[in-house]
């Protein structure tokens, strides 16, 4: 809507000589201002695209090609060796199983963490909007404030808590931690969403004598598909990209992909194999990138979701 506003705002300056303002498009494309505009945009696009290009092209090169060629050069031929090695045999110490165990660990962490954290946050949001009780808003305020506390502040006590629960170093611990730290933003998301729904349905159900859970499962859930998708995007990318919690809580056998990637690249012995490193890097980035490209605009909404409402 406001596109038009913006355009009409800039039109007089952009289209030069008067008398053209009312004319139908197309307007001349190569005005100096347009050239500057697109040059700037393309310059920035190059900045954003260059690393992707470097990552992908390096991963297809052979090591001699990397050593004697330029970082700008395209691979002379598409060579999947580095990808295979990154996936199956890149080393961290004695174990040279590549990134594939890390990938599966990340899957094992991401799926349950996403489900549990979203489910709990949805209930929180629902309770906060429709079943407010004394103190519920105070809890909510602290929850939101808590999302700004640096993780390092709570890290050590959480190690102790997970130890006492007997889950430290296991998948359960990582799932718990992701549920805890995903709660503020997700609860906010669901709370705002449920608050925006018409309250009549809820009231009618109450009059019919439906209880807390029945209303949640039969009325609220079916209506909240869009926000679930947003939450899903947020959590999948967020949890997949996590490094700190995976490194601290997952234990040596459940290290997520990000941790293994960092080990492969930064603790490598001998001559670094940049092609394998880059293939591993692309592989680690692949899942969130796919989520990003598949979800398109929803991703934008996902990341901006809690944010815009503050």
């Amino acid at each position: 809507m406001s596109n038009t506003a913006t355009m009409s705002g800039s039109a007089p300056a952009a289209s030069g000589p008067a008398g053209e303002a009312r004319g139908p498009r197309p307007r001349p494309f190569f005005t100096p201002k347009k050239i500057m505009l697109y040059t700037t945009l393309i310059f920035f696009s190059l900045y954003f695209l260059f690393p992707l290009y470097v990552m992908v092209s390096t991963s297809f090169k052979t090591m001699p090609e990397i050593r004697f060629g330029s970082i700008f050069a395209l691979p002379s031929q598409i060579n999947f060796d580095a990808w295979v090695r990154a996936w199956t045999s890149a080393c961290t110490g004695l174990t040279c199983n590549g990134l594939s165990p890390g990938f599966w660990n990340s899957v094992k962490i991401t799926i349950p963490s996403t489900i549990v954290s979203i489910f709990i946050a949805a209930i929180n949001g629902y309770a906060l909007v429709n079943w407010r009780f004394k103190g519920s808003e105070i809890f909510f305020s602290i929850l939101i404030f808590g999302s700004f506390i640096p993780y390092q502040v709570m890290l050590y006590p959480l190690v102790i808590i997970t130890r006492e629960l007997g889950i430290f170093g296991k998948l359960e611990a990582v799932i718990l931690i992701h549920t805890i730290f995903g709660m503020p933003i997700l609860t906010l998301l669901f709370r705002n969403y449920f608050a925006s729904l018409p309250q009549e349905l809820f009231k009618a159900a109450r009059v019919d004598g439906a209880g807390f859970w029945r209303i949640f499962f039969e009325i609220m859930l079916p209506m909240s598909l869009p926000i679930f998708v947003v939450a899903l995007i947020l959590q999948i990318t967020g949890i997949w990209n996590d490094f700190l919690f995976g490194a601290v809580f997952a234990g040596t056998h459940n290290q997520p992909m990000t941790v293994q990637l960092n080990n492969i690249v930064n603790s490598a012995q001998g001559t670094p194999e940049y092609n394998v490193n880059m293939a591993a890097t692309v592989l680690t980035g692949l899942v969130p990138l796919i989520v990003y490209f598949v979800s398109g605009k929803l991703f934008v909404r996902g990341v901006a979701a809690g944010a815009v409402k503050g």
Partner: protein, 413 residues
């Protein structure tokens, strides 16, 4: 139905026997360089062959600074491994005090270990209130100057035989485009001051600083020589020339790209794996060619107390491993590959290479306590922070360095 029951019974029987016969024992360590990995594989082979159990190898990246926390947090976090290697010293003292490590007294009771340990001080950190909580498996020393034969051939000079000759050769090396001092980024710099202390500063200085924690020793003239040597080292190194890991420095030395390096004897393992022959491809000077005593630390194995309900076979496997690690056979095989000195006096070391023989000769003079050995991890971390900063930032003067090091030592516990 019946058929199924039979199969099920057979399966349980089979599972039962396998678990009684062979159990998995997870062993954590940070021996990840080529030489170290080959050495730890010797332990694994012997363990699997002798006991039939399975050595589950958990090599952790990041050496002491990266892997130690993982090991400690797993033990503290109630998710202990079957056995772990850590540096001989004080890193685990609180874990021992908290009762998180298994007392090995009874396990090795009949081995009479006091009689064959090469230096009884090595066992000190393992003892607490009458119990024995770890077993040193080797003696490591940082005190080595490694020199590249190829580099000195390029500049047409004889390979130096001591620190002073080495320093004097730097200008010629630089002129020839050879790195006088190869260095890996991160923790390796941490060991250099200790080596300079033992070499240039002398045994007395090491004892006053590491054992007595006397800040005045740091402020004294002997340590000033050490600090000045550090200063000259940083002038010939730069972040751009630093390589990712100490094993890479070994390769630089073999190729003649770097002329020298101060690093612990575990570098020998990597030089060996890369095909280097001591005396031919590289030279080694223990104590920088001037010191008479080596500072010694090493690696120890700890066996965490496993949670209640653990398969007794696993506990037995722990005990078996403990005994095997210090057996003559394992000691010989492991240390020959690792480049470290065995902890036993009663094994035949005629197969040792030239460098190791030099070290064994120096061992008769007794070991000095290394920093790893006598300082807490907290103090070591502070010293590492200081060394890293000093090396990267020219604006930290020698005087600053001495004063700040003295303050850390004054507070050390």
């Amino acid at each position: 139905m019946k058929k199924f029951a039979v199969v099920a019974a057979m399966a349980t029987a089979l599972l039962g026997t396998t678990s009684a016969m062979a159990v998995d024992l997870e062993v954590t360590h940070w021996w990840t360089s080529a030489g170290e990995a080959a050495a730890v594989a010797e332990f694994a082979k012997i363990f699997e062959a002798e006991t039939g159990n399975h050595w589950v190898d958990s090599a952790l990246a990041g050496s002491g600074t990266g892997a130690n926390p993982v090991i400690i947090s797993r033990i503290i976090g109630g998710n202990p491994m079957g056995a772990t290697m850590m540096n001989t010293g004080r890193d685990a003292e609180e874990l021992i005090q908290a009762g998180l490590m298994r007392d090995l007294t009874d396990i090795v009771a009949d081995m009479d270990i006091e009689s064959f340990y090469v230096d009884p001080t090595q066992l000190e950190p393992c003892k607490y209130e009458g119990g024995l909580y770890c077993l040193p498996v080797n003696i490591h020393s940082w005190d080595w100057l490694w020199l590249s034969t190829a580099a000195y051939k390029k500049i047409g000079q004889p390979v130096p035989t001591n620190w002073d000759e080495y320093v004097a050769s730097w200008p010629a090396l630089q002129e020839a485009g050879i790195l006088p001092f190869g260095l890996a980024s991160g923790w390796p710099i941490n060991g250099v001051p200790g080596v300079l202390m033992a070499g240039i500063g002398g045994s007395d200085l090491v004892l006053r600083i590491n054992r007595d924690k006397d800040p005045e020793a740091v402020r004294g003239p002997e340590f000033r020589k050490v600090a000045e040597a550090m200063d000259s080292l940083r002038k010939v190194t730069s972040p751009e020339t630093m390589v990712p890991s100490f094993g890479d420095v070994g390769n630089q030395i073999l190729k003649g790209e770097a002329a020298g390096n101060i690093h612990g004897d575990w570098l020998a393992g990597d030089l060996q794996i890369a095909g280097g022959v001591p005396g031919v491809d590289y030279e080694c000077l223990p104590g920088l060619g001037v010191g008479t005593q080596l500072t010694g630390g090493g690696d120890s194995f700890y066996f965490p107390v496993l949670p209640e309900g653990t398969d007794p076979a696993v506990l037995e496997a722990q005990a078996q491993l403990a005994r095997l690690l210090i057996s003559p056979e394992a000691q010989l095989k492991f240390n020959m590959v690792k480049g470290s000195m065995p902890i036993r006096t009663d094994i035949d070391l005629s197969g040792a290479n030239a460098c190791m023989k030099k070290a064994i000769a120096l061992l008769d003079n007794g070991l000095l306590p290394s920093g790893d050995f006598s300082l807490s991890s907290d103090t070591q971390q502070q010293l590492q922070d200081l060394d890293l900063e000093f090396f990267a930032d020219e604006s930290v003067t020698v005087d600053d360095y001495i004063e700040r090091r003295a303050e850390i030592i004054a507070q050390a516990d």
